[in-house]
């Protein structure tokens, strides 16, 4: 790093295997993102409408609460305006990634190489702790395209070795089919994906399978594929959707008893994902620790937006804070149990992530049934 003497960059660009101090990191990030020389055009302009001064008022993780949730402004922003000026005129761009588009037009982020390296270092360390094979072929059965899901796998395989096979899922098309109540078509599309994954599972030495819980459940309908996975695959990684604790236990104990099953929890808007905590017992809920200080969570009461007590369920708020991006206070459509994070981590760990409850009322007045 050419500017290694800059105290802000000392913190933001610290070696990937070091964890910066929380307060120092928050202050450095504020200086970077709100300095007219280094901040992104988006934030420099947005700062004019903040009712506080990020440079003087924001020092700690708790102070991030001052920021409004600006995530909806990421739907129509020019991507050039999202890149901090401090990266210069030729930043190394990994890609533009888009949210699923469940709640309107997609939200955009620009992912830069230094962040990807930092994230991958973290992932690699956790994969080793989880006992992922070092050189194995991967099969990705999930979204590629504008979504971050496929890119993260591509980057992981590039660093860990092995070949990557992929079957592409277009989640927006599935959502559209479901919203139009064309469930048969959605089912046919999912079967089409499973059909494609079968080729790789039959003919290749797949050691790691990455997919979404609904596809994993659907895949479990095929005895042949279940047998192939139990025979060949060492780790199944699930991500991109929720996995309820009952299904998780059935997958682990009955369907894939010979395979390690690991969850990842992430989002395009935190530009990455975090992995299931290592060393959990079978009866523990699936806990996700933050990648502090970069990716962090809060679990809050949806009404008051204050943290719920540890062990209680609340709505998940995601924060991303790095040299690449500032995006705090993004209220997700997820709930989770609030769990104490490991010492020194910012925010909360989350467990047993579930969709926001949909009120279900089977009661119908007319008729006798």
């Amino acid at each position: 790093m050419s500017n290694a003497t800059d105290p802000v960059l000392d913190v933001l660009d610290c070696p990937v295997d070091q964890v910066p101090d929380g307060r120092e990191f928050v202050e450095a990030a504020m200086r970077w993102h709100f300095d007219p020389q280094t901040g992104s055009p988006f934030w420099l302009k947005r700062a004019e409408n903040l009712d506080f001064d990020p440079l003087t008022d924001v020092h700690t993780f708790a102070d991030l609460r001052l920021f409004p949730n600006v995530v909806n402004e990421f739907r129509d922003v020019r991507v050039e305006d999202l890149v901090p000026k401090g990266y210069g005129s030729r930043p190394e761009v990994i890609g533009v990634f888009e949210s699923g588009g469940t709640t309107g037009p997609p939200k955009l982020v620009v992912l830069l190489a230094d962040w990807m390296d930092r994230l991958m270092h973290h992932h690699n360390r956790l994969m080793d702790e989880h006992g992922y094979p070092r050189v194995a072929n991967w099969l990705s059965l999930g979204p590629s395209g504008p979504h971050i899901f496929g890119e993260l796998i591509r980057q992981q395989v590039r660093r860990r070795g092995g070949f990557r096979f992929s079957v592409d899922l277009d989640p927006r098309w599935v959502k559209k089919l479901i919203s139009e109540n064309r469930l048969d078509e959605a089912g046919r599309y999912a079967e089409h994906l499973i059909d494609q994954s079968a080729y790789a599972l039959r003919t290749q030495d797949i050691g790691v399978l990455v997919t979404t819980p609904p596809l994993l459940v659907r895949l479990s309908r095929r005895d042949e594929l279940v047998a192939l996975i139990n025979e060949k695959v060492r780790v199944i990684v699930w991500a991109g959707a929720h996995l309820d604790p009952d299904t998780r236990a059935l997958l682990r104990d009955e369907v894939f008893p010979d395979v390690k099953i690991i969850g990842n929890y992430g989002s395009t808007m935190i530009m990455g994902s975090v992995s299931e905590r290592t060393g959990l017992d079978d009866d523990d809920p699936c806990v996700f620790d933050p990648f502090s200080p970069y990716i962090s969570f809060s679990v809050v009461d949806p009404e008051t937006r204050r943290e719920v007590p540890y062990g209680e369920r609340g709505q998940v708020v995601m924060h991303h804070l790095s040299k690449n991006l500032l995006l705090p206070n993004n209220l997700e459509r997820d709930t989770a149990l609030r769990v104490q994070p490991p010492p020194g981590q910012l925010g909360d760990a989350v467990a047993d992530v579930a969709p926001l409850a949909v009120f279900e009322d089977e009661r119908v007045i007319e008729g006798v049934y």
Binding site: L183, V217, S220, R221, D244, P245, D246, T247, A249, L250, L251, E254, V255, E360, E362, R363, V364, I365, E366, G367, V368, Y369
Partner: protein, 464 residues
């Protein structure tokens, strides 16, 4: 009695799923409250993956021989009605159902006996549906000359059950008798009856992979149907329109049972009308929803109203209770629904309100009688789960149009031409001529066609 009271006051009962490897307790569950809102049970809700694996296990399982099935069914029925099942006495079970559904305890007791009888007769009942030309075993010597064999249309039968009345669970026992492996998705409102019945079937000799109890949330419910060969689904118009074109699904839709009194003097038939409206708490699909009477319907309506108004409001667990109860909020919702839909009808009984607040958050649904002024008034199709009846004028000029879309029609007439037309009308399920209440049933008489007509087919067989 002291022992009973102490059991009633304990922690909520756990109602686990009953799967192909025995009971399955999920982390996810839903609380089943009684009418006062007290939790009485925690019902496991199984995920999609469990449904898939269970249905696959049912397809793999082989049925027991017919004779053993019949005997085990009879044993299960006796156990259901008399024994402790899962540590729950029959009395305790009946009180639970009454407390949770608000159904009069006497109706629950009668339904318990009906389930035991149906279980004992299930195999025999199915034989009434067997075509004359069909035999039940290919080994029958007569097949050497060429014959029809009566055989299942599939192996696995799914039921989306209703919670309005325990006796809805008599019907699928015929599928068990015919060798189907059966998956029952209970109503959340009343899961106790199918749980008890399936537990009893297992204790009586049916393997865990023969009959399963699969409580699920709404999102997974259709998976049970998709993975079955045939299914039966209870519900309203929505269910009928959703599955009406699917030849593998038998909807059990609205009953809209009716009485036609084509004679001027209705007075000798008043008992049948009152009984048809109010028996079983008015909660069954075979309870009368509308009465059509030659001439002015008002005197009949007023007489029915007078009789029904004499029924006391009692807690459902009272031996003398006749009327159904609901939580006060639900009872008020029913009342509002009725008043919102009464339209131009004249309310002869219940106009001041149909809910009697018993305290403790329980409301008794008191009878309602409404008069409409023409036979084709749309209100006569509004079927509500309490004694609620519409009386309408009818004349020969109205024809049988207003009598269509009916599960049971009691026709009080001597006019054979009219009876011919009613018998021929495809949208009328059953026609009872004379003073027979619409809720009359017998094992040899179909309820809504014989279920076995749907479950079975004939197959041509000849052999050397």
């Amino acid at each position: 009695m002291a022992a009973l009271m102490s059991t009633l006051s304990t922690e909520p009962i756990r109602l686990d799923a009953l799967g192909p490897s025995g009971p399955y307790r999920t982390r996810k569950h839903v609380t089943v409250p009684d009418l006062t809102g007290n939790p009485v049970a925690e019902l496991s809700l199984v995920p999609r993956l469990y449904v898939q694996r269970t249905m696959a296990a049912l397809h793999r399982a082989r049925p027991m021989p017919p004779g053993e099935r019949a005997k085990a069914l009879a044993r299960a029925g006796r156990l259901f009605a008399t024994g402790p099942v899962n540590g729950l006495s029959a009395e305790h079970y009946q009180r639970l159902v009454s407390r949770v559904c608000g159904m009069p305890i006497s109706v629950v007791r009668a339904a318990t006996d009906a389930i035991a009888r149906s279980a004992a007769q299930a195999y025999g009942s199915t034989q009434y549906a067997r075509p004359n030309g069909a035999v039940t075993d290919w080994r029958d010597p007569i097949t050497r000359d060429g014959r029809a064999l009566w055989t299942r249309r599939g192996d696995v039968f799914a039921v989306h059950a209703a919670g309005n009345h325990p006796a809805v669970h008599t019907l699928w026992l015929e599928a068990v008798a015919l060798g189907y492996r059966v998956a029952v998705r209970p109503s959340r409102r009343e899961p106790f009856t199918p749980h008890r019945l399936i537990t009893a079937l297992r204790e009586a000799g049916f393997g865990d992979d023969q009959v399963v109890f699969l409580p699920t949330d709404h999102a997974v419910a259709d998976d049970i149907i998709r993975d079955a060969d045939l299914a039966m689904v209870y519900g309203g118009e929505d269910v009928v329109s959703k599955y009406g074109r699917n030849t593998n699904v038998l909807p059990q839709g609205p009953g809209r049972s009716k009485i036609l009194i084509a004679e001027e003097d209705w007075t000798p038939h008043l008992d049948v009308v009152v009984d048809s409206v109010s028996s079983q708490g008015g909660t069954a699909c075979v309870n009368t929803t509308a009465v059509f009477v030659a001439g002015d319907p008002r005197p009949l309506g007023e007489a029915v109203a007078e009789r029904l108004s004499a029924i006391p409001s009692l807690p459902p667990e009272d031996d003398g209770a006749v009327l159904p109860a609901q939580s006060l909020a639900n009872a008020r919702a029913v009342e509002k629904y009725l008043f919102d839909h009464v339209g131009d009808a004249e309310i002869l009984l219940g106009g001041g309100g149909i809910v009697d607040d018993l305290g403790d958050g329980i409301g008794v649904l008191r009878p309602a009688v409404m008069r409409v002024d023409r036979a084709d008034a749309p209100q006569t199709g509004i079927e509500l789960s309490f004694p609620c009846v519409w009386v309408a004028p009818w004349s020969y000029d109205d024809g049988i149009g207003p009598l269509k879309d009916t599960l049971v029609l009691t026709a009080i007439t001597g006019d054979e031409g009219l009876i011919d037309r009613l018998m021929a009308e495809p949208t009328i399920g059953n026609v009872y001529v004379g003073d027979h209440p619409t809720h009359w049933m017998a094992p040899w008489v179909p309820h809504d066609r014989y279920l076995a007509e749907f479950l079975m087919r004939t197959k041509g067989v000849i052999r050397d």
